[in-house]
Symmetry: C2
Subunit: 200 residues, 2 copies
């Protein structure tokens, strides 16, 4: 859909978090809004024979340094989570559920959960943390609890991850503008250059 | 050495090539010159359990697209080599030899060889290609032929690669400014931001 920027992200991805703080502005500058697409990197890392940056010798040290430095260079609040990376399937399912009926609300929830994890030091696997975020955004806790246990939502997330991989997504953040793929927080600047060159 | 930017690169690295066209200007803007440090990614990929981007499912397609697109966005000539990646030990040895007595000349040679491979479609494993580059830069072909077969030069390159890994280098390009590490062509912009923040 031409009005969207497709923003694929895993809630345990530091560069995904950094991008989540900038993507609304970038989309607005391009006359778009954000299509918030939660994914899970686990199945993607299997396909590429890859692993979380923090699990790879040499890259781990650099990565931990670069996460915080990148945040600092762009004036984004950042606090390295002590438990990292973690499984984020519940937050992803909530976002899948929300995007089914209110994309803007899904975006607000995603940004809040990301900030909870990477800026506020909260454990976003905890139902209390998910509930607090939802409650602050006026989302019904009881509806949310039903949704995260709904087989249709679980299946939808799996299908979304499979479709993303089919489309070429293998990391987070991964962004499409008119089917042009961009991987990484550092590609936000490239998107602006690319859009200029293509009169978008 | 505070007057240098340390620029680690593998001659088969597209992002290393792209960076080689910009690094002199970046260094000059920071009041530095470039310390040209050829490396070989093979041993580094072994240490990190990684592989050339072009050998990884999903990443390959994206990588080939992003090499050319990145070049285009920064107006750098680029032509994807058909034989890629390749072993580049000879060009690396020549650069090791040159940097031992003339760093500026080593830089000129490195930039020429990179452009031969990624812009002119030449096979930089070929002695004729190496010789032509050297000849155009006023480098003695007979001295060069002795140097690339000199055990001391071979050992020096191995030692340089080991020392680079010891310092945390695991990819190309990899740049240090005052021991601050930056990985990737996309980090050139970050170096400028970082230098501003640190009054360099």
């Amino acid at each position: 859909m031409a009005d969207f920027i497709d923003f694929y992200f895993d809630f345990s991805s530091p560069y995904g978090y950094l991008a989540s703080t900038q993507i609304d502005n970038l989309a607005a500058d391009l006359g778009r809004t954000v299509n918030w697409c939660p994914i899970l990197l686990g199945p993607m890392f299997k396909a590429t024979g890859s692993a979380p940056l923090a699990d790879i010798p040499l890259k781990r040290e650099y990565g931990l340094h670069d996460f915080a430095r990148s945040a600092d260079l762009f004036d984004i609040p950042y606090q390295q989570p002590s438990d990292f990376p973690i499984g984020t399937v519940t937050a992803a399912r909530v976002t899948v559920w929300l995007r089914g009926h209110d994309m803007a609300l899904a975006g607000k929830f995603a940004k809040r959960i990301y900030a909870d994890y990477f800026a506020s030091g909260l454990d976003i696997r905890e139902p209390t943390v998910i509930h607090a975020a939802a409650s602050d955004l006026g989302i019904s806790i009881s509806d949310l609890d039903v949704a995260v246990n709904d087989q249709a939502i679980k299946d939808q997330l799996k299908a979304d991850v499979a479709a993303a991989m089919e489309r070429g997504v293998f990391g987070s953040p991964f962004i499409f503008v008119d089917n042009e793929p961009f991987w990484g927080f550092d590609r936000l600047a490239y998107i602006r250059l690319w859009a200029q060159k293509h009169n978008i």
